[in-house]
């Protein structure tokens, strides 16, 4: 039942997208095409994520319902909209996914190295694996902020530092291709082949981007989140794998989210 709905939508969508491939690609038109939210297969994964979130798990056999995302233990409504932010208990700035990992470690007793193991953290799109529990839970938590305005933490010294270092890293050129994020994301109207590129310095652009993650990625058949996008672009840059939830990945997300401040979350997104 679930599966057939999913594949139906995906077939319809990919038809739509190839049909349009040679028209002049405008970012807005492209996004509008994908905006029929009721048909978004991501909603099914969000539902699953909710089940995982509430289920007892880990060595301590407790659920994640007491996880504090910055608004108090167990408060989910609006929590994603104010991330990333500084957390006293871990003494670092955390985004949604790194906070979830902290809660899985501190509340449920999982080992951090095990959760963020490079080989397990992402569903493998080539092998057509389903979403990991963590990806689904992140989508579930984010969905509780749908319709709210993005307002990440930016007053604590560590929050300011994460945003500043994130911007610096955004311009850091490295690897065999001499790429930095800015090579592809700092000018309006640019494309890699036919794929439109977000300009992180254009508030309309970056709001449209950051308000629609987590997102259902049609080419992956699963819901992806910001940590995965950071990995993906670093991989495209021919760099080694950036660690899931690492300071660098969180700093990039802190910078991008700050650039998108004031945008209204529209989750789950749907993208290529």
């Amino acid at each position: 039942m679930k599966k057939s709905l999913l594949s139906l939508t995906v077939v319809a969508l990919s038809g739509l997208m190839t049909g349009n491939a040679f028209a002049e690609p405008s970012v807005d038109a492209y996004r509008a095409q994908l905006a029929d939210k009721d048909a978004n297969p991501g909603l099914i994964i969000i539902e699953e994520g909710g089940d995982y979130f509430k289920a007892k798990a880990g060595p301590k056999n407790v659920s994640l319902e007491k996880c504090d995302f910055g608004l108090g233990a167990g408060v989910l409504k609006g929590a994603y909209a104010q991330l990333p932010r500084y957390f006293k208990d871990t003494d670092r700035v955390e985004d949604l996914e790194s906070r979830l990992v902290s809660c899985m470690v501190n509340l449920q007793g999982f080992k951090r190295e095990e959760i963020i193991d490079r080989k397990k953290i992402f569903a493998n799109q080539r092998k057509k694996q389903e979403n990991t529990r963590l990806e689904a839970m992140a989508a579930y938590v984010a969905y509780q902020s749908d319709g709210m305005k993005i307002k990440p933490g930016s007053t604590h010294a560590k929050e300011k530092e994460a945003i500043a270092l994130g911007e610096g890293l955004f311009w850091r050129r490295h690897g065999t291709m001499d790429f930095s994020c800015a090579s592809c994301h700092s000018e309006d109207g640019k494309r890699v082949r036919l794929q439109p590129l977000v300009n992180a310095y254009n508030s309309h652009d970056i709001q449209a981007t950051m308000t629609t993650w987590p997102t259902y990625r049609v080419s992956h058949n699963v819901v992806r989140n910001n940590q995965h996008r950071m990995w993906d672009c670093n991989w495209q840059m021919r760099l080694p794998d950036i660690e899931y939830g690492s300071d660098a990945a969180v700093a990039l997300i802190a910078f991008l989210t700050k650039q998108a401040e004031g945008g209204t979350l529209n989750i789950p997104g749907m993208k290529r």
Partner: protein
């Protein structure tokens, strides 16, 4: 043919490029050591990793902290250093085989690493591609072209095939920053993405009158 400094051409091109100025004015000199420390912590060693790729050379460092807008002195230093790095095929012939060039321009294969989706070594036969269509329109036959770089359609037809143009085109592909400091174009030859002979093949693809680029 080896290395005549084509100063006038270089100059005009540099001035032209200044027109496509980068939109953002930033300087990260003050926090650069913190950025380096953060990077060092965030890309752990392990199977399939090559951490040497995170080490920056002088040019990458300067372009990073200046957000691609080096001072005039730094710009001159970068161009001189990058120019000096350019190497040529043993034959000395900078116009190679345009048909081989056509394949290289199209292919986006190569150099992706990590444990999740590395480019499979088994498929490495033909070597890395130049992936030029990611950023440039080149042959009118290829519609799926990006626009980070300018259109190169009709490149040879409009510029001709003088020794100067051949030299410029070869050098530009080998090391884009010999002409434009902090260019967003990868230094293909310098960084070892493709060989000197392959740079010559691509040069022929852009310039040869038989090439689809110039039809």
């Amino acid at each position: 043919m080896m290395k005549p400094m084509i100063t006038s051409l270089t100059l005009t091109l540099t001035i032209m490029s200044a027109g496509t100025a980068f939109a953002v004015d930033k300087d990260f000199t003050q926090i650069n050591s913190k950025i380096d420390a953060m990077v060092a912590k965030s890309f752990p060693a392990g199977e399939g990793q090559d951490l040497s790729r995170l080490k920056q050379d002088e040019t990458q460092k300067k372009c990073s902290v200046r957000a691609n807008k080096p001072t005039a002195t730094e710009a001159a230093e970068i161009m001189a250093r990058e120019r000096a790095s350019i190497k040529y095929p043993e034959s000395g012939n900078l116009m190679g085989d345009w048909k081989k060039g056509e394949k290289l321009v199209k292919s986006g294969f190569g150099m992706r690493i990590g444990v999740i989706e590395p480019d499979p070594v088994a498929k490495q036969k033909g070597g890395n591609g130049g992936n030029c269509y990611a950023c440039h329109a080149i042959s009118p036959k290829e519609v799926a072209a990006g626009n980070i770089g300018n259109s190169l359609v009709g490149y040879g037809k409009t510029r001709g095939t003088s020794a100067e143009i051949i030299q410029y085109t070869y050098d530009k592909i080998y090391n884009a920053q010999a002409f434009m400091p902090c260019s967003n174009m990868p230094r293909f030859g310098h960084n070892g993405i493709i060989t000197a002979q392959q740079v010559a093949d691509i040069t022929a693809f852009l310039l040869s009158p038989e090439s689809p680029v110039n039809q």
